[in-house]
């Protein structure tokens, strides 16, 4: 007989949802990243050397989208800041290639994050290097003997390589090599060929240290990873509910999913299945995961084809025939209209003859949906009817869409299936 009133079912469901959403959507940092132990140790060691011993370092963390780069970095920084010496000294500057699209903006952001706006004031600097040197000088402690270590985190590192002259990268890496201030430069990027993007002088100042995050999990490890992401923690208030939840069986459905998950740490399908959980449906079933994977892997172009009018569908079939006959060479509206007229005259019973402007309007609708694209996009002096276009659909997609099209007239289907237009 427990004194505490156990939570109602609905409250359990809501709490479970809250925990899982925080984990899946809000990217809450786990205690330890899964299957990344060696990389974790390596990175932690590097940063400790900078923070505690004053060594300068530069490292690139490379891995495809969703492989856990930001998560790894977050966990390492969290542990670093728990060390006593690091807590007092280390300054963290976080830059993102998407936000800081220019070196000037980046410099302002660095100034702001180091809380040196007042120190800089209204000074005008001749170059980026002077500015950066001034900032780092200002960080030196009172006796001017040692300076506080700074950790620069550059997210989307490859975008910084597109700046003019790569000044920011050059200067940061220069500082990390010249041993004046202990500086750690960490770059995170999804491009595996990021070193090709760097200029020679920048590349030579980089330490060529790379940490690769390629998820090479076996299926059993994958299942474990998914289970650990979906399971409720042991301190959940209602142990019976969390037991039932953790032991629900959905392993079978994970096999088809493991083939196409973008990254183990960006689980859209897990989120979709979690969102279906409600009072009436309070545990996770296989059907949920399968439904979620069906939603993700649906072909959106085929779905769009479902809503076209018959005239537009006939135009697409005419374009498909032109592609088959002429091996994918670009066509113009006049040719498509010609094919369509041939179909109307010879084979069609249900579709009556439409005027050319009406057919043109249907064609323009297809242009707006970007199912057809002009070959040279730009203002041309060619008339609209004679502008060359390409069809952005595959033969297979068209045929599949035709099967699913509601109330498709049989002569249109026959025309699509015939080899000779």
């Amino acid at each position: 007989m427990s004194k505490r009133r156990s939570l109602t079912e609905a409250q359990c469901v809501s709490l479970a949802q809250k925990l899982l959403r925080e984990r899946l959507c809000h990217q809450k940092l786990p205690d330890r990243p899964l299957a990344l132990d060696s990389q974790y140790k390596h990175l932690l060691e590097l940063l400790r050397r900078t923070a505690v011993h004053g060594e300068s370092n530069s490292v690139l963390i490379v891995g495809p989208r969703g492989s856990g780069k930001t998560m790894l970095l977050g966990c390492v920084l969290r542990e670093l800041m728990s060390l006593k010496e690091a807590q007092k000294n280390v300054l963290l500057v976080e830059l993102n290639g998407l936000l800081q699209t220019d070196d000037k903006i980046a410099l302002k952001e660095i100034t702001r994050q180091l809380h040196l706006e007042n120190v800089v004031g209204d000074k005008v600097f001749g170059s980026f290097a002077e500015n950066l040197a001034f900032l780092l000088e200002a960080l030196k402690k009172g006796d001017k003997s040692s300076s506080r270590p700074v950790v620069f985190v550059l997210d989307e590192f490859d975008l910084f390589a597109h700046h003019k002259n790569q000044t920011l990268l050059y200067n940061l890496l220069d500082v990390s090599q010249s041993a004046q201030t202990p500086v750690a430069v960490l770059g995170l990027t999804c491009r595996l060929d990021v070193l090709e993007l760097l200029e020679k002088r920048v590349k030579s100042r980089f330490s060529h240290r790379q940490i690769h995050l390629f998820s090479s999990l076996s299926f059993a490890q994958y299942v474990d990873a998914v289970r650990s992401q979906l399971s409720l923690p042991p301190d959940f208030p209602d142990p019976k509910f969390s037991d039932a939840w953790n032991h629900s069986s959905y392993t079978q459905s994970l096999f088809p999913l493991s083939a196409f998950t973008a990254g183990i740490f960006k689980p859209i399908h897990l989120f979709l299945s979690v969102s279906r959980v409600s009072v009436s449906h309070s545990t996770l079933h296989e059907a949920d995961l399968l439904e979620a994977s069906r939603l993700i892997s649906a072909d959106s172009k085929a779905i769009i084809l479902h809503g076209l009018s018959i005239l537009e569908l006939c135009l697409i079939i005419a374009m498909k025939h032109l592609n088959d006959t002429y091996d994918g060479e670009p066509f113009n509206f006049q040719m498509v209209h010609n094919e369509f007229k041939k179909f109307i005259q010879r084979k069609s019973h249900s579709i009556h003859k439409f005027e050319k402007p009406v057919v043109m309007k249907a064609f323009e609708h297809l242009l707006q949906l970007e199912l057809v694209r002009p070959v040279d996009s730009g203002v041309c002096k060619v008339q609209r009817e004679y502008q060359l276009m390409r069809l952005m659909l595959e033969h297979g997609q068209v045929m599949e869409a035709l099967q699913r099209y509601p109330q498709c007239p049989t002569d249109v289907k026959q025309w699509a299936l015939s080899a000779f237009a």
Partner: protein, 475 residues
Amino acid sequence: MKIHLCLTGIKTIILDCNNISQYSVFLINSALMNRRDIMSAVNPDQYSYPSVFIYGHRATGKSHVVLSIMKDLELPHASVDCVECVSSGLLFHQVLSAFFGPDAAALLPRCPSLSDFVRLYKQMSSNSPATQTRYIILDRAERMRDMDFSLLPALLRLQELVNDNVTVILLSEIVWEKFRPNTGCFEPLLFHFPDYSKGKSLVQILSWDHHPSYTPELYASYINILLGVFFSVCRDLRELRHLAVLNFSKFCEPLEKGEAKESDIHKLWKNIEPHLQRAMQTVYLREVSSVQWEQQQMDEKEATTLRVLSAHAHIELPYYSKFLLIAAYLASFNPARTDRRFFLKSHGKIRKTNFLKKHEKTSNHLLGPKPFPLDRLMAIFYSVVDSRVAPTASIFSQISSLVTLQLLSQVGHDDQLDSPKYKCSVSLDFILAISRCVCVCVRLLDLLALSLVIQSQVVRQERSLFTAVSNLHLL
């Protein structure tokens, strides 16, 4: 009538149907929409997925449903139409003023960058933390691809960048594959708004704006007739509604005049069907405005032809301009080798060879007009015009005015004064209409017929053709 929407198992939101429109009711109730999925994915009280992408055809209710959910549940949202955002600064301004008031938006610098926006947002949200999820709704999101390249990927992961519970909802007609940047981005949740089926949904929605003085059954039969004409061409709900409203008075004319009763569907159909066919060629194509259309219906005693936008009949060209245009058309579509045969008075030997090469048979008509030099145009012009014409400046200036009217187009550079090249930009129908106006002699009609013959790719026996051509010149 109340509808219960179950969210996260605890709250059932009760929507009062008197406030929201019938259209929303229909969408909520219809089994077509996976609204439950959308509602549970974008959860107002807990963390919701950072970005959602909703796609579907036009007028399938995307903006309407999302905005009505936001308004009814009174969620903090910022709705931005990307067509209005010529620069990204306008977008930032609208979002900040919707969430934090106009004072916050005033703090943005002159040409705000994304960095400024994120910094200001973080500052504002730490002052007023969110109790509920905030939503940014971007309508017509395909325009965002043309803005700064980093705007779209940054907005997709805005939740992570500002460390706040915010969800970005993108609405678009175009599929997600065309949005994805080159190096990838944070993948949003994809939702599809399906299109309407003809029988159940479309007829039902269209019958809602029936006229109060007639029965709904009459309106439903009118809608069925309208869809019978237009459904195979267009499925856009807005267009169909517009056409339905415009043509209903014409449909009810026999009822008002007393010629037919409501149950006389066949008679009403016979009355309205040619009218709808004409509407397809004019109002549907926006050749006439709706006002003109309605006026024409009111005073239609004699079947007057409408003054349409691209009407060929009412372009008044000077006498010689018409001949110049006809000559330009012949020059564009007939290959230069055949000029000698068609236009010279005295013809040499008649050879038996094919006067059209194989590749020219298809290319003449389908690939468009070919450029021709000015001299060739003048040569054909002189042989086409019946009277003697002196090459004065007035003739040449007419060519320039044809170029300005965009009936001819100049090929090549503007300052090529020596031998400018032109192309004919009008279709055969236009030329035939013009030549009918001009008192054209038989010879001209035959020449046009000849080019028609060329275009239809039917070359009958060459001998008879050659004799016909030679007879022409002897006239």
